[in-house]
């Protein structure tokens, strides 16, 4: 559910949490980002950082500049200023992400896990089976058909939680137990109802079945897209996967290496939740691609 009024809870002497509801849904996450945008634009003295998450937002503040009560009051009054959920709109960048499905590197990573840690069904087959798909071709079609919403970032710098905007692309998968000790940089994984891109070689728990040569994390800030940060995405961005073959993968990879690669991002779009809801009504959610 989405709460009538958000629940505010202190987190020590410098933070508070704002819980807007207790479900995983796009509408609730859109509300989180909308309030986050309002708080940011209000430039409240003493509010330092915001972390929007699935159903909540963390606010950190400087207690020398603003009290907990005043900080909470400001956030609540901005929330109350929202007259209609349907009227909410947010600027949303769209990133085009080249993706090689069923690539050799994630396959080798899974093989390594099976040999050293625990035997398991190969991730692609598992996703096909659990989601009643006809095979890997359909998994690729279904996964690449939707635009994805960057619902949140965190745990590791740049690690993104991507929610499919098209309900026909919804997939479910359990997480690895025990988790993997390593995952190739740029791996695409799926756990619960969320897709992610691994920014770097890190441990992980999502089912893995594809890889992008496009960096979403650059410690050296070599490419132009990393001018302002080491991590590419911001919450409220969107991602569209573009399936490529191995030849194209190697071409993009070479361009990344010689630093001539340019991220393909569209910055002129605004996401309207009313238009999104209207579109949802036109589709048959039970249809797969």
């Amino acid at each position: 559910m989405i709460y009538e009024e958000p629940r505010l809870r202190p987190g020590g002497d410098r933070c508070f949490e704002v819980y807007f509801g207790d479900e995983m849904s796009f509408d609730l996450n859109f509300l989180v980002h909308s309030v986050c945008g309002l708080v940011r634009n209000a430039r409240i003295k003493g509010i330092i950082e915001l972390i929007p998450e699935m159903a909540s937002m963390q606010v950190s503040y400087d207690p020398d500049l603003i009290s907990l009560q005043d900080g909470m009051r400001e956030v609540l009054s901005l929330f109350r200023s929202i007259e209609s959920m349907e009227a909410l709109e947010l600027d949303s960048r769209m990133f085009y992400v080249p993706i090689l499905y069923f690539d050799p590197w994630t396959r080798a990573c899974v093989d390594d896990y099976r040999a050293k840690i625990a035997d398991k069904e190969w991730d692609g087959d598992l996703l096909v089976r659990l989601n009643d798909l006809t095979g890997l071709d359909q998994l690729r079609r279904v996964h690449a058909a939707s635009d994805y919403w960057v619902a949140a970032l965190g745990f590791w710098p740049g690690l993104c939680s991507l929610m499919p905007l098209d309900p026909r692309s919804r997939l479910v998968a359990p997480k690895y137990n025990p988790p993997r000790t390593w995952t190739p940089k740029g791996t695409i994984g799926h756990g619960g109802a969320i897709t992610c891109i691994y920014p770097d070689q890190t441990p992980g728990g999502y089912q893995i079945f594809a890889r992008t040569p496009m960096p979403i994390w650059d410690r050296e800030q070599r490419l132009a897209a990393f001018k302002d940060s080491l991590a590419l995405f911001r919450p409220g961005d969107r991602v569209r996967f573009q399936p490529i073959d191995r030849e194209e993968y190697d071409y993009v990879d070479a361009k990344v290496r010689d630093r001539s690669f340019k991220h393909n991002v569209v910055e002129y779009q605004r996401f309207s939740i009313r238009n999104y809801h209207r579109w949802l009504k036109t589709i048959d959610e039970s249809e797969r691609f």
Binding site: G12, D13, E23, I51, P52, S56, S60, F155, P157, S161
Partner: protein
């Protein structure tokens, strides 16, 4: 081209710097308050763990409290100065020496070009801070010099110091002799038992009355598997309210699971039945509840404790925690 030449001359001409002879166990560059503004992308603030000792080290050498220092963990480094400087060592007592002679702590001391400052194993506490007048001058990353080891960001190439490295210092004229009175310092002694303040929330309502009673009355032992990311504790089991046991499936199976949310610094993060206090390099978000949060004014105690030490938690209000914070601020300004 001209600019390149100039830069090279500065280096060849012997700009202010420290040569790392021995790196110590884990010595890292940290500035205060750390890397702010990128938490929403997953970058924690980082910064000095014992902020109090860091700030006083800077005060002793005449720096602004924000300036980067070297944080030394358990065993300190051996450094050769490559310029005349004023330096100070605060925090844990690692028996510092200068060219073999005892180097007084909590005081700005004149050091000559070529002299060697050596820190050993901590005799009290766990973390020492070395400040040099002008401040450690590694290139800032996302606005901060703080080292975030896990992702290899900031400081000396992203990680702890290594032997043979040369640490740049912003050279300034400074005078020695500034002393930090004992009453202004964090009281670091030989204690193995600590009283740690904790503020209720954000998820205290997921723990039942018996669970709160157990948390506040038990002895919690600090595990060896603890670092700047998190401090793991051993202790009795937790008990929960219905919020934890009767919830929507997207929260996860375990009572301690919650839909991913932000993690405040100092959160007592309940991972199954293991509480982990998330500290300066802690993850920004995750799917476990945080029934309590250790306030910033108590961080020095965490930073100065060692594996095997015992924590007893005492509840403090948000206002009480902020009063403690202002008290430390005054100690850093009074000098």
């Amino acid at each position: 081209m001209a600019e390149d030449n100039r830069r090279e001359r500065t280096v060849l001409g012997g700009g202010a710097m420290l040569e790392v002879i021995k790196p110590g166990l884990e010595t890292s560059v940290q500035d205060f308050p750390g890397r702010l503004g990128f938490w929403e992308q997953g970058f924690p603030p980082s910064g000095p763990f014992d902020m109090w000792s860091h700030r006083l080290a800077n005060v002793a050498v005449g720096n602004r409290e924000e300036a980067a220092t070297l944080e030394c963990q358990f065993i300190g480094p051996t450094l050769r100065f490559r310029h005349d400087a004023v330096a100070a060592v605060t925090g844990a007592d690692m028996a510092p020496t200068l060219d073999g002679r005892p180097f007084p702590m909590w005081e700005g001391v004149a050091v000559k070009d070529g002299q060697v400052l050596a820190l050993g194993a901590a005799r009290t506490g766990a973390r020492a801070y070395i400040a040099v007048a002008g401040g450690i001058d590694t290139p800032p990353v996302l606005g901060s010099r703080s080292t975030f080891h896990m992702a290899g960001v900031g400081g000396m190439g992203g990680y702890a110091l290594r032997a043979g490295q040369v640490v740049p210092v912003a050279s300034v004229a400074a005078s020695p002799g500034r002393h930090i009175a004992e009453k202004n310092r964090p009281p670091i002694g030989n204690q193995r038992e600590w009283t740690i303040e904790a503020v209720r929330g954000p998820n205290d309502d997921w723990i039942d009355a018996a669970g709160h009673e157990v948390f506040l009355s038990s002895r919690w032992k600090l595990q060896a598997k603890s670092n700047r990311t998190g401090f793991r504790l051993d202790g009795p089991p937790w008990t929960f309210t219905e919020l934890a046991t009767r919830k929507r499936p997207e929260h996860g199976h375990d009572p301690s699971n919650i839909l991913d949310h932000g993690y405040p610094m100092g959160a007592v993060n309940l991972c199954g039945q293991t509480p982990i206090i998330l500290v300066v390099d802690g993850p920004s978000t995750g799917g476990f509840i945080n029934p309590y949060t250790v306030p910033s004014a108590s961080f020095w105690k965490l930073a100065q404790s060692r594996p095997g030490d015992i924590y007893r938690f005492v509840e403090v209000s948000v206002e009480g925690a902020q009063k403690m914070r202002r008290h430390i601020d005054r100690q850093c300004m009074e000098v």
